[in-house]
Amino acid sequence: MPQSRLTGSRIRERRLYLGQKQAALARGVGISAAYLNLIEHNRRRIGGKLLNDLARALSVDPVQLTEGAEDALVGSLRDAAVRLPDASAELDKVEDLAGRFPGWTGLIAAQHRRIQELELSVETLSDRLAHDPHLAASLHEVISTVTAIRSTASILSDGADIDPEWQKRFLRNMREESRRLSSSAQGLVDYLDAGDELEATPLVPQEELVAFLDEHDFHFSTLEGGELELGERVSALIAGTDKLQSNEARQIAHAWLERYVADAMDLPIDEFVAAWDQHPGDIARLVRQFGSSIPQVLRRVTTLPESDGQSRNVGLLQCDGAGAITFRKPVAGFPLPRFGAGCPLWPLYTALARPGLPVSALVEMGARTPKKFRCMAYAGPVGEMSFDAPPILEVTMLILPEDETNPFEGEAIRAGSSCRVCAREHCPARREPSILTGRTGEGT
């Protein structure tokens, strides 16, 4: 019985805590020191009177010495150890450990659970593509209809004589199958779109931040215009959401909102909206007009309020001096990787290599219907500058999608999202193969 074995460890802990000598305690309850030693090392089970005597001598409830809330804990620790055999955890000491350090072992168990959850979610995500029954059924449907269409079409078009009756029949089949194909293809698209939303459970603080900002459409009217109680208002916003689950997320949200407040003071909302609506996209003009910095204007554009009930369709990316993406406000048609670095062709990274120089470029993302985006990026130091320390760089890139009625003119950089999910062939900037191009090495 694991509890009774753990009891020894707890007796020892308690005795050492009280600073009692083993011999003294043994004498107090009328047993030999050697016997107590065996008990304390979980080599002898005890119960009944001796347990009660020891508990009294140690001034604790006997239940505290025997009760094993650790049962589940020990099980979980064992499970964790078995899954990572390379760590060579001392399995025979697991009860000792749980008895002596309930806090730390609780942490190990909790992390073990967390790892399992994460493994499960990774598996689920990859299984979705490989084994999803709905996806498989939809694809099967698409392939069946395509097979029928291809076969029928080639009968109709191979030039051989066909009885008019048959011809009519095949034409009808084609019509029928085409209709089926378009509805199953639509179903597939709907399903994959829904998948986008499912996937959006935040995993890192930055994602929690974006979920929180998204809830407010990136605009906070309570932080505009006023100068009073802004700190309280920021705190109230953070306290009033369930999107910011972790402390880290609340911390970065706090920093983000404080910056928002500063931007809002320098670039008053009414004037800024008027100026933007008059010359949309003209960042240089706004910088001149408000005498502010380029990154500040780029950020401010991202937080403009809705216009005519429509949220402003702009994206923002920020990275640090190492190129790690620190902030992302997504915009439709410009897929951003959830983790890791983005496309090396993005102007974001061009700007990183040329701090202090504004970079503007058209970017075409490799989607099915390629859309162009005007990207404006600027890298500059943040925080205090010093002669003795490297500058801390921050790059900010605004992403403006093209207006369908008034498309962007000119050559665009053919970029993508992250290499794993980018299908562009012969890209000189590729750093790893794509999972989208053929498994057998054939291109698509």
């Binding site: 694809l139 099967h140 392939i143 069946s144 395509v146 097979t147 029928a148 291809r150 076969s151 029928t152 080639s154 009968i155 191979d158 051989a160 048959w166 029949r169 095949f170 089949n173 029928e176 199958e177």
Partner: protein, 146 residues
């Protein structure tokens, strides 16, 4: 002349329409597939190529149909209602009466595992949807010739 198949039944395309003479000389192929328009297209091109075509679209009764028709070759879809093409193939290979019938399998997936399974079960050839009509004819001739 080719007769149209009735979509709602498993009746044989050629049943009762052709002379006994044709039936004896033309080679017979049984198509087990559940998509009516694929059945129709395949039946048409095979008939035009000189085959006598029978069709069946239920997985559960497929083995029975093969025994009844005793075709010279079988085109077998993997995804069938009731029973998978793999199970059917396994049964056919276990029965003396049907073990030597050449089988051309159709599948919507071309994955390695599927191919391996089909090969282990004794398929003669494997064809991935969508296919061209010429491929069907060529593969069918190949398995009958072999």
């Amino acid at each position: 002349m080719i007769q149209m198949t009735d979509r709602n039944s498993d009746q044989l395309a050629e049943k009762g329409s052709d002379s006994e003479e044709t039936r004896r000389t033309a080679r017979q192929v049984l198509v087990i597939e559940d998509e009516p328009n694929i059945i129709e297209a395949i039946s048409f091109i095979l008939s035009r190529d000189g085959w006598t075509v029978s069709t069946h679209s239920n997985g559960e009764t497929a083995v029975e149909a093969v025994r009844r028709v005793a075709p010279d070759a079988l085109i077998l879809d993997v995804m069938l209602p009731g029973r998978s093409g793999y199970d059917i193939l396994q049964d056919l290979r276990a029965d003396v009466a049907t073990r030597d019938i050449p089988v051309l399998m159709l599948t919507a997936r071309g994955q390695k595992n599927d191919r391996e399974l089909a090969e282990r079960l004794g398929v003669n050839l494997f064809m991935t949807k969508p296919f061209s009509n010429a491929e069907v004819l060529e593969n069918l001739r190949q398995i009958v010739g072999s």
